[in-house]
């Protein structure tokens, strides 16, 4: 018997549900979270598998048409138990509550003017519009609804939609008011007069306004340019000039000069050419950062080339760590003037090469207690499901190749 009804009787029935034991469907209750008044609409909506917005609008609409909405709400409030809620009670979204209030008031004003509240022609119009809107809303799937909502929030469209909607409401309201009070005919003359005056002023002021707008735009552009210049100046001052001073001061130490110049060059390059990526977020950024730190520490330039990029998954983190160790080895022991690093991200795997043209070594002659290659590079890669290959010979330089499968697309 009680399936979809929302009358007071049904509400009474539903309140008896807890006694039914194994209920065929979850019992009606009033959730605390997300409630606007007492959670009645939300609870009922959950029961009927509807959007709470629909029921809230229904209550508002019913209240306007003959006041039954308030009664129904109060009755449901009384007969439905509040659902248990642990933790702090969340605050209500008063903005949304106010919005429903505003809708109610606006509709009430409209119905009063058109006589819809007493069963006039206006009732049907409101009903038709309300039902139409609900049908549209319900037909759309969740994704589309979200798109509607997010679309409405988009900056430019939001302003235009809001302005247009507001304007429409004002015009409709004013016309409705005049029509209801029977003064539309008299007002027409005044309106024409006002229109002519406003139009005249617009024609006179238009050139002046255009110039003003253009000046404003120019001024804004100039200001943006100045801000940019100030930012560049600040950056150059903080980093480049500072480093140049340091270089002059440590002119006696070529190694330090090289280190300073190199680290400043890298910083400036990053600032100019690299996308502002979070160093912890992607493979390319992490490899670059590791190389930068080692370069600073050991004073040997590391040339990096990255092809493609992807997010830093746990396995790839190990890859970056192993590459880091390989770079440390190359800068510390090889004696090469420069180290090349090449990282390539492919759809299913990531490969990093660390190469130097230094003195190389005999891989079999490495004592077992030397942890650098065996543990930090090969062991680390194998533990994480990747592989490492070291190619070297005395006098031939060293190349470490690290490969790691990617977890997913």
């Amino acid at each position: 018997m009680r399936i979809l009804g929302l009358t007071c009787d049904d509400a009474g029935d539903m309140s008896e549900m807890p006694n039914a034991g194994n209920a065929p469907y979850p019992r009606l209750g009033r959730p605390v979270e997300g409630r606007l008044v007492a959670g009645v609409a939300q609870g009922a909506a959950a029961q009927l598998r509807l959007d709470p917005v629909v029921l809230r609008l229904a209550f508002v609409l019913l209240t306007i048409v003959n006041g039954v909405g308030v009664v129904a709400y109060a009755a449901l409030w009384m007969f439905t138990p509040s659902l248990p809620h642990t933790g702090r009670r969340p605050t209500r979204d008063w903005g949304e509550a106010a919005a429903y209030g505003a809708i109610g008031l606006a509709l009430a004003a409209f119905t009063m003017l058109t006589g819809a509240s007493t069963g006039g022609f206006g009732t049907w119009a409101i009903a038709a519009i309300g039902i139409g809107a609900l049908v549209l809303w319900q037909q759309a799937d969740t994704a589309r609804r979200q798109r509607w909502m997010s679309g409405a929030v988009r900056q430019v469209r939001r302003t235009w939609v809001r302005t247009g909607f507001g304007l429409l409401l004002v015009v409709v309201g004013a016309t409705g008011f005049l029509a209801a009070s029977g003064e539309l005919a008299e007002a027409r003359q005044g309106l024409v007069f006002t229109g002519v005056v406003v139009g005249g002023i617009a024609v006179i002021a238009a050139p002046w306004i255009t110039v003003l707008v253009k000046e404003l735009q120019n001024e804004r552009r100039e200001r943006i340019r100045q801000e940019e210049r100030a930012e560049v100046a600040a950056h150059v001052h903080d980093s480049v000039l500072h480093t140049l001073t340091l270089i002059q001061r440590s002119a006696h130490d070529p190694r330090e000069v090289l280190r300073l110049a190199r680290s400043q060059e890298r910083e400036l390059r990053n600032w100019l050419y690299q996308p502002k990526a979070d160093a912890d977020a992607t493979v390319a950024a992490a490899v670059r950062r590791a190389a930068a730190e080692i370069e600073d520490e050991h004073g040997v330039p590391i040339e990096i080339v990255c092809v493609g990029d992807c997010d830093l998954e746990p396995g790839l983190n190990a890859l970056v760590q192993a590459a880091r160790q390989a770079m440390v080895n190359a800068t510390k022991y090889s004696g090469a003037p420069v180290v090349s690093v090449y990282a390539e991200v492919e759809p299913d795997e990531v490969t990093v090469f660390v190469r130097d043209r230094g003195k190389g070594f005999d891989l079999d002659a490495v004592p077992p207690d030397r942890m650098g290659i065996r543990e930090s590079i090969i062991g680390r890669m194998e533990r994480n499901g990747g592989s490492a290959r070291v190619r070297t010979a005395p006098g031939e330089g060293t190349e470490v190749m690290l490969t790691m499968k990617r977890e997913g697309p």
């Binding site: 100019l272 050419y273 996308p275 330039p301 080339v305 092809v307 493609g308 090349s340 090449y342 390539e344």
Partner: protein, 211 residues
């Protein structure tokens, strides 16, 4: 036979630095410091190779390429820049330069690169190789011209080795091919880079920077 070179760069210090570093097989016939003087000097001195800076007053290296190659000149350009920006690198290559090296290159390597360009081959720095691999991998659009719009497996291998820091001789040893074959592959990649429209490479480079 020495190779005649014109150095085009707006930094005097840099020009004299390059002049001092180049090997004996290079003869520097002149210098220019902006687009107009570069165009005039190329017409007058007829160098074999022009060492071209990317950023210069009056339109930069691309403007020089446009004006000189537009007149049907056969002079060869090697771009030399401190820039890391993909649109600069791809831009001068698309404009007709036969190679791109960064200013951190050693004097010996630069000398080799100039000789190579003078002989009609292409010169790719590791960074340029990386950009090219990126550009030819990053779009899924179907090729309009299959010959121009994709790299062969072998070309890809050669580019990867360049990106890893291998010299041509080392690449040849690694792939068991001759240095001449490596040069052929690189020249073929250069041709594709200059002629392919599929990837709209310069636009790719610009878009990439904004990402």
């Amino acid at each position: 036979m020495t190779t005649k070179v014109l150095i085009v760069d707006d930094h005097r210090l840099f020009r004299s630095g390059v002049r001092a570093e180049l090997g004996p097989e290079i003869e520097v016939v002149g210098e220019a410091e902006d687009v107009d003087s570069a165009v005039a000097a190329i017409a007058e001195l007829q160098p074999d190779v022009v060492l071209l800076d990317v950023h210069m007053p009056g339109g930069g290296g691309q403007e020089v390429l446009r004006r000189v190659l537009g007149q049907g000149s056969q002079v060869r350009f090697l771009a030399l820049s401190v820039s890391d920006a993909a649109e600069d690198v791809i831009g001068v290559i698309r404009g007709g330069a036969r190679g791109y090296v960064t200013k951190t290159i050693s004097g010996r390597e630069l000398t080799d690169a100039i000789v190579r360009v003078a002989e009609g081959d292409a010169v790719f720095s590791p960074r340029l190789a990386g950009f090219v691999l990126d550009a030819f991998a990053s779009t899924e659009a179907p090729p309009i011209d299959p010959e121009l719009d994709s790299l062969t497996q072998r070309e890809r291998e050669v580019l990867r080795l360049i990106a890893r820091g291998y010299a041509y001789k080392e690449i040849a040893k690694e792939l068991f091919i001759s240095v001449k074959t490596v040069e052929t592959h690189v020249s073929s990649v250069l041709r594709k880079l200059q002629l392919s429209n599929r990837h709209e490479l310069s636009r790719w480079a610009t878009a990439r920077r904004l990402v």
